[in-house]
């Protein structure tokens, strides 16, 4: 805890000073972390180094090996980039569904808002105007051209705004009802984008005659690729785009983690645990849930901008209900409520969907062309996987301890035993178990006793009324 050891001056300057000093102190912080949790820190370091080196290793060794020596399913650069995109989305959905416990079945809508933000503001689509702003596009080129670093915050704001607009009337609903409303929203948004291809509108200063706003079925292309320091980070760049995605993903992880470890994170978990009690403890539940919805949506906005800029095109076909469900499966399989879990869920599912199943299909056709192609059955496979997980490990690959405990809901007596094995209630120990057992009996007797109220007077003559 470096924060407690050194006082921090208030304000931005103090923060910057603190940031610089903690950056200089980083090796020390790493050493402390290594002393504290050796295995975990080492594993994380190796994983991080491997992740950073993967795109290069992939190009230099893995792909040639797979081509020339023995075919192995190494994900290509494009697949790795999509791992980053879905990783960002899974982390965002985890804020809504994992932390705050709000089931959002229309998460893809916010992905669409992000993608269309890029499509509108960084493409020649609106050719009648020419707005070129800090972009590498030549001045006077038709269309609106904003640079990527401006699109990201704009998409976050757009997605979050629509998240709040959707949430404001619906977050008073609970459970299934909220799921249905978000499902509807997720269906409506892509359809709206699909159908705004020939708009006639004449009101006030706006005159539109047969205006093609969204490109309809064809979508919008070409969208400008992200562009920094003279390098393009589009799909043709391969490795560069992977690293840009990695930077965005690391930003998403840090943001989500910082939110989780704050007053807001505690409020979200409190609402998930017991909404009535949370409200009674002074948490404005409506506003806090709206915040979860808006912030969660902004992650999908970033993912959308990156997808559109990376691929250079976007159409409403990308934003189907299946995508919403896919992200939700990532969150559930990975471990709802745990940032690392949902990240692993996203990486594994994109890998299986885009690399492993096609690879398996090729191997099948090598054996016999009549064998089925497994990548046609991807959702069947995910479904079976999901059912199996729900049966055997409902908390996911890397569970949040809290969520695992909620899912394996044991009666309080057993819960103590379970906690003791988790090393959680080491202090409580056996005494607590005995104490609790005694207390349970006390409750049982007290419940009976509550019927007959202990007040002076002849006992047992007439029992107290049972009310309501």
């Amino acid at each position: 805890m470096s924060a407690s050891s050194r006082p921090i001056q208030p304000g931005i300057v103090g923060w910057l000073t603190h940031l610089v000093s903690s950056a200089l102190n980083l090796p020390g912080a790493y050493r402390r972390e290594l002393e504290r949790r050796r295995g975990r820190t080492l594993a994380m370091t190796i994983l991080a180094v491997f992740a950073m080196a993967y795109p290069v290793l992939n190009r230099l060794y893995f792909q040639p090996f797979s081509r020339n020596v023995f075919p192995l399913p190494f994900p290509e650069d494009a697949v790795v980039t999509f791992m980053m995109i879905f990783g960002i989305m899974a982390i965002g959905l985890n804020i809504v569904a994992g932390f705050a416990g709000l089931l959002d079945l229309g998460y893809v809508a916010f992905y669409a808002f992000g993608a269309y933000t890029a499509a509108f503001l960084a493409s020649p689509h609106f050719g009648s105007v020419s707005v070129v702003l800090f972009s590498n596009t030549i001045q006077g080129f038709p269309g609106i051209h904003f640079p990527f670093w401006m699109l990201v915050p704009l998409a976050m704001i757009t997605a979050a705004t629509f998240g709040v607009l959707l949430g404001a009337p619906t977050l008073r609903l609970r459970g299934d009802y909220l799921a249905i409303v978000t499902l509807g929203f997720g269906e409506i948004v892509p359809v709206v984008f699909k159908n705004l291809a020939a708009v006639n509108f004449d009101f006030g200063p706006i005159h539109l005659v047969n205006a093609n706003l969204t490109g309809g079925n064809l979508g919008i292309n070409p969208i400008d690729a992200p562009h920094f320091f003279g390098i393009k980070f589009g799909s043709s760049s391969g490795i560069a785009a992977v690293y840009l995605g990695m930077i965005l993903l690391v930003g998403a992880i840090l943001t989500a983690r910082n939110l989780e470890r704050s007053r807001m994170g505690r409020a979200w978990i409190a609402i998930r645990e017991d909404e009535v009690a949370a409200e009674m403890m002074g948490i404005n539940t409506v506003r806090t849930k709206l915040l979860a919805f808006g912030l969660g949506a902004s992650f999908a906005g970033v993912a959308g901008v990156f997808q559109a800029s990376y691929q250079g095109l976007t159409t409403s076909d990308f934003f189907t209900f299946a995508t919403s469900i896919l992200v939700l499966i990532m969150v559930i399989l990975g471990g709802i409520g745990n940032i690392w879990g949902v990240l692993v869920g996203a990486l594994v599912l994109v890998f299986v969907d885009k690399t492993f199943l096609p690879w398996l299909g090729l191997r099948f056709t090598e054996i016999s062309p009549d064998l089925p192609n497994p990548s046609q059955f991807n959702f069947l496979i995910f479904g079976v996987l999901l059912v199996a997980m729900m049966r055997f490990r409902p908390e996911g690959f890397i569970p949040s301890r809290q969520r695992a405990a909620e899912l394996h809901h044991a009666p309080p007596g057993q819960a103590i035993g379970a906690a003791a094995t988790m090393g959680d209630a080491a202090i409580a120990g056996e005494e607590a178990v005995e104490e609790l057992a005694a207390e349970q009996e006390a409750i049982a007797t007290a419940d009976e006793a509550a019927e007959v109220i202990d007040i002076e007077g002849p006992p047992g003559d007439a029992p107290g009324r049972a009310g309501t």
Partner: protein, 280 residues
């Protein structure tokens, strides 16, 4: 009430009374759960609300906390109207706003955040007094870090106050029953209340634990300068601790006064034990 609309916040805070409820009525469809109840809580006092099951105690409790809106009547707390009337529509302050004004509560059936640690349960109670925004959290600004440090420190103080020092890391649901009751009081105290509402704090406790809890509640009042409203079934607790006792039956106040007066009141005996017992 008067025809003139009641202002949103504020009358003069009453010097003696913390809570002043007048003609409070709550109807659920045809059922009148609470009928024209007048009820006061003097500052610094422990007041008990008793009555048979279904007498309207918890309904009344819930109208103070803002969970229910009264059908008629007024409730003021420390110079704030908890209930306002616009036209013929009654409005209550939202429960979180009531908590912010300084009313903390516990629940009859413990409602802790089970898989959050004891310390984090208390820190949720501190939520209203922490001011950092989400963007402070995202950037981990110094002010936010300082506030988090404060919340841990204050949370540990409160754990010590309710006798749970050193148990802050245990999940709330894994604490023994008596400790859960204490933690709930700690969480309510974290909201820094002027009035503490305790809904059956000794339910399910044996006699020695009950005595301990009674002494604890009494000590809280003196140490923290609190007023306490208690709903309780255990008459030993009520009679031993209360300055005043109000008895509800069928949603109406049938007796009010010191514990001794209430105990001697024949209507109270009748309500609890039936007509036959009262006439004996």
């Amino acid at each position: 009430m008067a025809a003139a609309p009641v202002p949103r916040t504020g009358t003069q805070p009453d010097a003696d009374l913390l809570v002043k409820a007048r003609h409070v009525t709550k109807k659920f469809g045809g059922l009148t759960a609470v009928n024209a109840v007048d009820f006061d809580i003097p500052r610094g006092s422990i007041v008990s609300l008793i009555g048979p099951n279904g007498a309207g105690k918890t309904t009344f409790f819930n109208m103070i906390t803002g969970a229910y809106t009264p059908t008629a009547g007024t409730i003021t707390f420390d110079g704030h109207h908890l209930v306002t009337q616009s036209g013929n529509r009654m409005r209550s302050l939202k429960p979180h706003a009531v908590t912010e004004l300084g009313i903390g509560r516990t629940f009859q059936n413990i409602r802790l955040f089970g898989t959050m640690s004891a310390l984090d349960n208390i820190r949720v109670g501190l939520h209203v007094h922490l001011k950092s925004h989400w963007w402070d959290a995202v950037l981990r600004l110094p002010s936010m870090r300082a506030e988090e440090e404060y919340s841990i420190q204050r949370g540990e103080e409160l754990l010590e106050l309710v006798g749970l020092e050193g148990r802050g890391n245990i999940w709330a649901r894994n604490l023994p029953y008596g400790d859960q009751r204490r933690l709930e009081i700690g969480r309510a105290l974290a909201t820094n209340p002027k009035l503490l509402l305790l809904d059956e704090p000794t339910a399910g406790m044996n006699s020695s634990e009950t005595a301990e809890m009674t002494a604890f509640i009494r000590s809280l009042r003196t140490r923290l300068n609190l007023s306490v409203l208690l709903i309780e079934h255990d008459m030993r607790v009520v009679m031993g601790i209360s300055d005043r006792v109000t008895v509800l039956d069928y949603g109406e106040v049938i007796a009010e006064g010191s514990p001794a007066e209430v105990r001697a009141n024949p209507r109270v005996v009748e309500a609890y034990l039936g007509r036959g017992a009262a006439s004996n």
